[in-house]
Symmetry: C4
Subunit: 212 residues, 4 copies
Amino acid sequence: MGRTVTETGAQLSPVRLTTGRLEAFSDGVIAIAATLLVIELNPPAPGEQLWEAVAHELPAMAAFAVSFLTILIFWVNHHALFAGVRRADRGVLFLNGLILLGISFISYPTAVLGQALQTETHAGPAALLYGLVLLATSAAFTVLWAYLSRHPQLLHPGVQPASALRRSLAGPLLYGLASITALVNAAVALVVVALVAGFFALPPRWRGRGPA
Amino acid sequence: MGRTVTETGAQLSPVRLTTGRLEAFSDGVIAIAATLLVIELNPPAPGEQLWEAVAHELPAMAAFAVSFLTILIFWVNHHALFAGVRRADRGVLFLNGLILLGISFISYPTAVLGQALQTETHAGPAALLYGLVLLATSAAFTVLWAYLSRHPQLLHPGVQPASALRRSLAGPLLYGLASITALVNAAVALVVVALVAGFFALPPRWRGRGPA
Amino acid sequence: MGRTVTETGAQLSPVRLTTGRLEAFSDGVIAIAATLLVIELNPPAPGEQLWEAVAHELPAMAAFAVSFLTILIFWVNHHALFAGVRRADRGVLFLNGLILLGISFISYPTAVLGQALQTETHAGPAALLYGLVLLATSAAFTVLWAYLSRHPQLLHPGVQPASALRRSLAGPLLYGLASITALVNAAVALVVVALVAGFFALPPRWRGRGPA
Amino acid sequence: MGRTVTETGAQLSPVRLTTGRLEAFSDGVIAIAATLLVIELNPPAPGEQLWEAVAHELPAMAAFAVSFLTILIFWVNHHALFAGVRRADRGVLFLNGLILLGISFISYPTAVLGQALQTETHAGPAALLYGLVLLATSAAFTVLWAYLSRHPQLLHPGVQPASALRRSLAGPLLYGLASITALVNAAVALVVVALVAGFFALPPRWRGRGPA
């Protein structure tokens, strides 16, 4: 809030945006993307036994929970990235748009994967699609860090984009690993994605020494 | 807003998050979860009489209204909890994620219960599922208070996590009671959940002396 | 933002809520309720001519647009009301919850009315249901003003709840009129609701002298 | 946030609204409208091959992505416009409501276009409908600038509404061009809309000299 920059006032296409409002808008999109996931879950069909129906829905629920927590991790990363951004130009705006597009899209491969795990048909391709969408979304973060490292004037003093760029490669690498796992077993790929979310959420002392 | 802490700047995985933005994001998820409940209500099928169709939908509407008010109560509790949090570490972030996951998930058992009350099939199991999801969601609040009571450095001075932890047990106990009631009668279980929401909303002088 | 009151800190059930966060949460619910309306519109069925399908959908689109603008008017009234509230107690919280419940629910009678106008079956009862839901929602505002007029310590100095309460009766009266009109003609009732929204949006000099 | 104006306090129908809250509410509607687009995408039908199903869904995904980015551009324009607004009167409120109505409605022609491109039936009319809705939405911005240029007291000092009004004509002109293209080829019309979004997002040095 304190680092808003609105030098261009009432222009139709301002180069500089208040990062406060950009973050608030992004938060809105990410919160909605996470919460919308649940509408892909299906109540029991008429005549179906309730617990059987719920048990049948369990794989879709697992996919829902993993995607929900993954989107929360993306949100934390988004927050951490924009904590370092002093002002947003059009490139930041566009690349942030791609990140939000990716996050909004996650509900589609989640629904596909949940359905595939339920029906045990084409589960491998569904998990691969799921992994690739997460890979692309996390890669959009890396692209934005690469852009920021070439435009350091957009960053707060003291932010080191080169090391942030290197660390941001963890996302694409881990989701790439999950995608490769999907070629072997779909459920294991979902577990890998869950572990990635868990790893990011773990307190640092439980995962060795590190800057965070 | 005034107690944001961003010591780690542009790290990929910051331990400390601005609680202001964490609350705003959580508010977004909770508001969406409450508002999305309505899309489970079904307009009359073609050829159905309108008032008959509305009367037929009444149990689903009751489940909608009770879940809506319950989510509002969860929101108040969330607000009260974070009013005491000075800064969020990764554990707070993860446990808050579980709370949001639970609240987002409520629309599923609400839809199941509404449908079960309408068709008068497997209403007992549906109410039990509903009660257990509310139990788990309120238990996530208790777990977060337990975590905070073991990390008092995350709290504002003067906050007493031990008594907050004790009081937070009211949620799991009451939703546990609702779950047991569900084994006897589904509609009564829904009434119990409605009474819990009403109890939290009542002015203190109408429910005896108390700290609130 | 400047009038937040958090005297009770980390209690589980605080009597006093920051009105800033209560407004932000309410804004979220109202924005979602307005935007969700559109998912009730149906793309053409396979084989249907596009313009015929769009023309066939026009009554549902009219209901969508009228409900959207009506929810915006409710939002303005909500904003005006909370501009006068200094702090929120549990009664304000609960009555605000009823307002939000009503606004969230509007998509249901909107879908019913749109479908009824399309199929030209039970349009009268559908318009009556629509009018009654708007009547109930606007009456919740009146009840909240009545509550505030009996608890003036919750208001900012200078706010006159008695006259606000009188003016707030316009909503229930106008939506009551729309409901009565529904008994005669459904489309005319929708026009009446549209005129109410237009009346609130009109600049004051176009509707005679008035305080606003 | 710093330019809120609440002179009318607790009136039911205030002429002046805090632009901060008006912007936050509009942000919410726009974020939801963008994120809701994804629910129009359909997972594979039972028995369908996954990659075939995804390939079959590609036109709908393209329409989703283009509409998503277009809504983001509308958001930037909305932000730029309100950066110049000092206070909102009822006319601003009403015209802003029309802008939000248009943006919320975009998911409908997007779904229609996606379906038409998939089934290769009535794709031309669907693209025309799509272009016309974008034309109408961007025209609402022009109307709001025209209103503001006739009410300069609502603007911050230094804002030049006449030139902003001229520049705001780019939207209707470009979407009018897309609509005309739709009469020839639906896919090309979608590409034109994508190019408009890309043009707005391009850094200024890549598109010749200009004020932004």
